[in-house]
Symmetry: C2
Subunit: 271 residues, 2 copies
DNA sequence: CAGGCGCTTCCGTCCAGTGGAAGTTCTTGG
DNA sequence: CCAAGAACTTCCACTGGACGGAAGCGCCTG
């Protein structure tokens, strides 16, 4: 504890904030470098690019990347580019929610796809986003923004709105406290209007969205409950927008959601 | 060890091999603790269990696990148990092979499932194993050992044998150099017999397996090629063993494999 | 209520990680 | 064809963060 003289020893001089991240967080920063952009296809990076994104010196990056590669978390391609490695995939699919929910839900999603021939989604609530666990699509030429692993907003997607409708009040509170992005003219962003929709969804047991995220497409989404009756996920189909409501499609989505819920151990509450 | 005087000051010294693993490899050892058992459902571990499996002191484990949790690679449950975290899943599904192959193949796998109503598998060659990338199953009660992310032997599964049939000769050489496990009486384990099968598969473009891994089930598998003509994956259906060969099923598997290959940019080589 | 087990926190020691710099390989363009 | 530059790899002396034994805490269980 130097007293008196204002610490001369500060050799490194000011401005050099020395980066007090732990080894672990540096390693993580490297992986995060691959995740960054939302819809991007980047997925492969050079060493220098990784160093930049992670904010690490090149030599440090070099060493740490080598550690990842030797474990299998990253893989190095002939051209010198790096990408996420199969080991991550292997561990990733072991994740309880992914493994259990997906395994149980998949057959019902397949049925839903077969009867409707529309894009089928399965998503859970994660933080402030709808996280897409599964997506079935057939040979459609139509591209959607969604893909497995994607995160989309809660207020502009069918699954998102369903998840929000059954979320704890404080989550809703917090979500609506921030300003919601308007993607298209029909996106509902006004907090009170959203609340009204949520109430309606709880009442109807289904969410109807139309042109709120992607022009020309609409969706129908329903909640999936586990044995405790809590809503843990949502299924949806995404269709081309039409003027008429198709009651059969609604029924199909409902059935799929009920099927999965039942498989999860949910027994319709008495009443 | 104790020699003479019960080593007083000799606090550490000899015998203590100090564990020269890097921080990174310790972090990885922690994740690997969750992967360990093949068909196990363990998936959640206590801190102590992690420490044991990873071979690390408790306090070190405690600190490193906390790092994983704060990043999202592990998650801590109310009961104090840990499991793999969603972050791993998110990064895992971004892995190029998983993302691209799966996305492209899925529609064809769905078609195959619809026409045959049998278990459908998609696998790639990884090291000495067939790694299962996708599995569609419907509501079958019949359980299979396979699941997404599973690794099964090359010589006793349909997809495995197909992958081996089109693998570089040195891979085949090396694989057959070790003794192959016999799961059932009909499992072919004799190297020369396997080679003969591989040749036959290359000739026929399809593999037929019968009761070589699981009693009562058979499979039909076909190769998937990329634009360079190289075999990069295999599709299969697993059926209950019957006496007769079903040419329609064979055709369906072939079509699915061809569909995926075409979608990957493969154009049937002239001749 | 004592004993045991598992988790968390603390802290002095010391060595593994750090990153600047030099060396090497690959690429570009004059 | 060679020079200049960019990207990658290796080296190594310094030092601050990781290490882990030990003590403290909280929760069961008999």
């Amino acid at each position: 504890m130097m007293s008196g003289k204002p610490a001369q020893k500060v050799t490194n001089v000011d401005a050099v904030a020395v980066d007090d991240r732990s080894v672990a967080s540096r390693l993580f920063a490297i992986l995060d470098a691959f995740a960054a952009p939302a819809g991007a296809t980047s997925l492969t990076l050079t060493l220098t690019a990784i160093a930049q994104r992670a904010g690490l010196p090149l030599s440090t990056t070099h060493r740490l990347v080598a550690e990842w590669v030797s474990w299998g978390g990253l893989s190095k391609h002939e051209n010198g580019q790096y990408s996420l490695g199969m080991k991550l995939w292997e561990l990733g699919v072991q994740t309880p929610t992914a493994r259990n929910l997906r395994t149980i839900a998949l057959p019902y999603l397949e049925d839903l796809y077969e009867t409707t021939r529309e894009h089928v989604h399965l998503a859970i609530l994660d933080g402030r986003d709808a996280l897409y666990l599964e997506k079935l699509s057939g040979h459609h030429v139509v591209r959607l923004i969604s893909r497995v692993g994607a995160r989309l907003p809660l207020h502009s997607t069918g699954v998102g709105l369903v998840l929000l409708a059954y979320a704890p009040t404080d989550v809703v509170q917090e979500y609506l406290a921030t300003s919601l992005q308007r993607f298209l003219p029909r996106t509902v962003t006004e907090p009170e209007a959203v609340r009204k929709r949520l109430a309606e969804i709880r009442l109807m047991g289904i969410a109807r969205m139309s042109e709120e995220m992607t022009a020309g497409s609409s969706s129908l989404a329903a909640p999936i409950r586990d044995r405790t009756g809590q809503v843990v996920a949502a299924v949806s189909i995404v269709t081309r927008t039409t003027d008429t409501v198709d009651p059969e499609q609604e029924q199909a989505v409902r059935l799929a959601a009920q099927g999965v819920s039942r498989a999860l151990g949910y027994r319709r509450a008495q009443q």
